[in-house]
């Protein structure tokens, strides 16, 4: 069993605390699909962080972030879609090093990503009703 885990190179992508005060986020855009390759620098998700609940005020503190891959892989499981609310720590996706790898094992580590603050844009889920 141990040997099998070492042979499997799975990476997980969870919602991390981008802002120390956040507890959740919303998926605005999803740029990847299951069983497709992810290259270094590929866009993965756009996320919305809304701190209105914790920082009640008339001007809602809403920020948008883009998560970009800093390493390559194959996206094996996509667990969210645009419009989904996710808690910090929730699993967003599982990636493997090679395409036919068994994905039942435990991920060896989080996928390396870059997170950057972005402007709201028309392709976002929250822009659909405007």
């Amino acid at each position: 069993m141990l040997q099998r885990e070492f042979l499997t190179m799975l990476f997980e992508l969870r919602l991390t605390k981008i802002n120390p005060n956040m507890t959740a986020g919303m998926v605005e855009c999803c740029y990847v699909s299951e069983n497709s390759p992810v290259k270094l620098g590929d866009k993965l998700f756009d996320l919305r962080v809304d701190l209105s609940a914790g920082f009640s005020q008339y001007c809602p503190p809403i920020s948008y972030f883009r998560v970009v891959a800093r390493e390559k892989g194959i996206l094996r499981q996509l667990l969210v879609k645009p419009g989904d609310n996710v808690n910090v720590g929730d699993l967003l996706a599982v990636l493997s090093e090679i395409a036919n790898e068994e994905i039942a094992g435990r991920p060896v580590r989080p996928l390396r990503v870059t997170t950057a603050g972005i402007a709201h844009h028309s392709a976002m889920w929250s822009a659909r009703d405007q």
Binding site: C59, F65, T114, I118, A119
Partner: protein, 452 residues
């Protein structure tokens, strides 16, 4: 050992008009150890004609809320004098004639301060609010309710200068404050000042919107009102009360340029009239890269998305059909600023201060810009903010604009810590920016450039 200073209300005059005040509403308990200049209470004030001037127009007639807050000039332990108000509803209205010799409390100070006088007039902070509607009256608290303009002034001889805030939340926190209206600004400076705050509901005060508002004729205002009324009247989806309320607030905002406003001030020395504002504070954060333009009437409009969300379906449909979204490049924004600053210069001669943008959120970990498409300022907030800040720097070189350098001040104190929600400034950063604003506003500082 201690000795006491009697705290008197001190002088407040409005020429021959009578000034009445409510009971004093204390903001602290008896025995409170207060700082010098700390606001400890307030009362509501009314002005009424004296018997020989029944037909005279009342000063500040358009401002339904007028209050005076009080602050001891010296630090000490406050002993509150028991008032004579019957309390209840009568406690919030002007029952008592303003008596400058009225002792409202006493201050216990250490004996080693014995050189001090046995009595002192408290510092007065005057606060006035013009309600969005006469219906928007709320009795309790300091400047409560919905105002389309609120202002504050102080100074024993009355201020001779006015700063008009036309920014969004970043500027509002500096001028109006986030704790209690205007008190943070009042407590931060002993210099006389008059601050005026225009809220951003429902319109974002960006440069093209302010320019249109400043130059629009009354005929153009009537055309805007008629167009809006026709849109709401013809709406078949059902115009709601939210639509009508929103429409009223929108017209109230569009019809009157506060840049031209003049003001009446009730001061310890008497009634004064000043204005228009000699300084106007703007926010670079108001300048979005897309604004709305009315397809037929041609005027500009911009609203924050959470404001639009408070409109009803008819207003949202009207915004979607009567307006087009117009993209603005950084150069376009610079030209819009230039036109506005020149127009303000011609109309009133006021100086323009602009809060620049914080160009990092502190919550990023960009190790390479390669994954982001050019032009990166279309996507990345930090690049967009840096480009806009550079544009502002160029603008300040070519015209009478002064930058209040949010970006530099935030960086000096550690940016992320002072943007706890990723958007809004901490009280520490606000205090630094307020200090920079007052520094820029001094007559000696009349020089373009940036202030930190």
């Amino acid at each position: 050992m201690t000795h006491e200073i009697a705290l008197k209300l001190g002088s407040l005059k409005a020429d021959d008009f009578l000034i009445r005040r409510s009971a004093i509403h204390w903001l602290c308990e008896d025995d409170h150890l207060c700082r010098a200049g700390e606001v400890v209470g307030f009362c509501s004030v009314t002005i009424e004609p004296s018997p020989n001037q029944r037909n005279a127009g009342l000063p500040m007639a358009g401002e339904q809320d007028f209050q005076v807050a009080i602050a001891p000039r010296t630090a000490g332990r406050l002993r509150i004098e028991k008032g004579k108000s019957p309390g209840g509803y009568l406690g919030i209205h002007g029952l008592h004639l303003w008596n400058p010799n009225q002792i409202i409390g006493r201050l216990e100070i250490p004996d080693d301060s014995r050189g001090q006088a046995l009595e002192q007039d408290v510092r007065l902070l005057m606060l006035a609010g013009r309600r969005m509607s006469g219906l928007a009256d709320v009795d309790a608290g300091i400047l409560p309710g919905w105002h389309n303009r609120s202002r504050a002034w102080w100074g024993d001889e009355g201020p001779d200068r006015t700063l008009l805030c036309l920014g969004i939340c970043d500027a509002a926190g500096i001028v109006r404050g986030n704790q209690t209206p205007f008190i943070e600004a009042f407590e931060s400076t002993a210099e006389p000042a008059h601050l005026v705050y225009i809220p951003d509901h429902p319109v974002v005060p960006c440069a093209p919107v302010l320019l249109d508002q400043l130059l629009r004729s009354s005929g153009q205002n009537r055309a805007i009102a008629a167009d809006l009324a026709a849109a709401l009247g013809s709406d078949r989806t059902g115009t709601t009360s939210d639509d009508w309320l929103f429409a009223g607030a929108l017209l109230s905002w569009l019809e009157r340029s506060p840049i031209r406003d003049s003001y009446e001030l009730v001061t310890p020395m008497g009634l004064r009239r000043i204005g228009p504002a000699d300084a106007v504070l703007l926010s670079l954060s108001s300048e979005t890269n897309t604004i709305l333009k009315h397809k037929r009437l041609g005027y500009s409009l911009q609203m924050l998305r959470h404001r639009q969300a408070s409109a009803g379906p008819a207003i949202r449909a009207w915004l979607g059909s009567a307006f087009e979204a117009v993209k603005r490049s950084v150069d376009d924004i610079r030209r819009d600023y230039r036109r506005l600053i020149d127009a303000i210069g011609q109309e009133t001669g006021a100086r323009v201060f602009i809060l620049n943008r914080m160009s990092t959120s502190g919550y990023e970990d960009i190790v390479s810009y390669a994954p982001f498409d050019a032009p990166m300022s279309d996507t990345l907030e930090n690049i967009a903010a840096k480009e806009m800040n550079l544009m502002l720097h160029d603008l300040a070189q070519e015209c009478d604009a002064t930058i209040i350098d949010v970006d530099a001040l935030a960086a000096e104190i550690g940016g992320a810590e002072h943007l706890p929600d990723g958007i809004h400034h901490s009280a520490t950063l606000q205090a630094l920016l307020r200090s920079a604003m007052f520094t820029a506003w001094t007559p000696q500082a009349r020089k373009s450039g940036s202030v930190r």
